[in-house]
Symmetry: C2
Subunit: 201 residues, 2 copies
């Protein structure tokens, strides 16, 4: 019997995944949480062996939760299950110690198998995603560029960003200009979108 923890902020999806996995005779959902920062505690309390982690969650991302599990409960394996198959996400999830990475449009039949493989100590990664994450490499952005791009995501004017990080407008423009060059974009908004698509943020 494999003991599972589910972490997803959408209660309906979480409950549905629980129903799906509980149908399998060798799987048992022993805990469910809706926030990233509750994963470690719930995993400890429930004695989970495998954790299914969504990435977009309040409190802490699923990737950070995987890293925390790695530190605190090294015996527990984690499988990241997310909506977006962004190349950078795969890379970062694996670096954080996750054993697998599955996107939410894979057939539901395959999920239980993925869980079993992860429990057996194998890695489970969508081959297309793995290839993509290799070809475009790690993020070329510096720390500041990454930070400023996240603020530029919603199209905020340079002045607003500068105020938010207590920098000169000119400096912000320079960092963003550099990021625009590295992403191949022509505006900061486009650069932010590209960086997000690649999982660089």
């Amino acid at each position: 019997m494999i003991r599972l923890l589910l972490a997803d902020d959408q209660a309906l999806v979480r409950g549905a995944l629980a129903a799906l996995l509980d149908l399998e005779p060798d799987l048992e959902v022993v805990a469910q949480v809706g926030r990233g920062d509750e994963v470690v505690e719930a995993a400890r309390a429930s004695g989970a062996e495998v954790c299914l982690l969504d990435i977009e969650m309040p409190g802490m991302t699923g990737i950070d939760a995987a890293a925390a599990l790695r530190r605190e409960l090294p015996g527990v394996r984690s499988l990241v299950v997310t909506t977006f198959g962004r190349p950078g996400y795969v890379r970062r999830a694996i670096e954080a110690g996750a054993s697998g990475f599955v996107v939410k449009d894979t057939p539901s039949r395959q999920l239980a198998d993925a869980v079993r493989r992860v429990h057996a100590g194998l890695r489970v990664i969508d081959p297309d995603l793995a290839a993509e994450s290799l070809i475009d490499g790690p993020s070329p952005l510096t720390g500041r560029e990454r930070e400023l791009l996240t603020y530029a995501l919603d199209g905020s004017p340079v002045a607003a960003i500068a105020a938010r990080v207590h920098l000169s407008e000119g400096t912000v423009r320079n960092h963003l200009s550099s990021a625009i060059g590295k992403t191949g974009a022509t505006t900061r908004t486009e650069a932010a979108r590209i960086a997000q698509d690649r999982g660089w943020l």
Copy 2:
């Protein structure tokens, strides 16, 4: 026995919802589709009585699918189940003839009940969302403003938008300026984000 159709582009979520609902003794999932434009045909072929529709789908939105069901198969009721509780979505879903509107972070226990109520001819709408959709009213945007805002969503420069719709740059600027005024924003990107949040796009 209530016959259900599920429409969601994420196969994993779709399968999981099927597992969840099939647990109920009086519910039966008789069809699953991953595209909005396959809903009507599948509903007809399977003899579904209630359709669960996600909004964001390829081919056709769940709202348009609800409208198509209304037209083609008036006896079939539809329940919109979506990630985002945008006020405008609720309004448009109801106007399209949907009998219910549920967001994906409601507890999974309540979904089966919502299905039963819809099947019984009742309306099921999250009370908070209904209130919100009343207070900020219908979209004040004109057709062109709406269209141009969708193109502005990703931060495209005015020139690119103008080329795409074969309009003068000045005209595009005027429409967007008007939309900026109506949304209370200060840039076109912010206006687009606000309009999207309210379900005006």
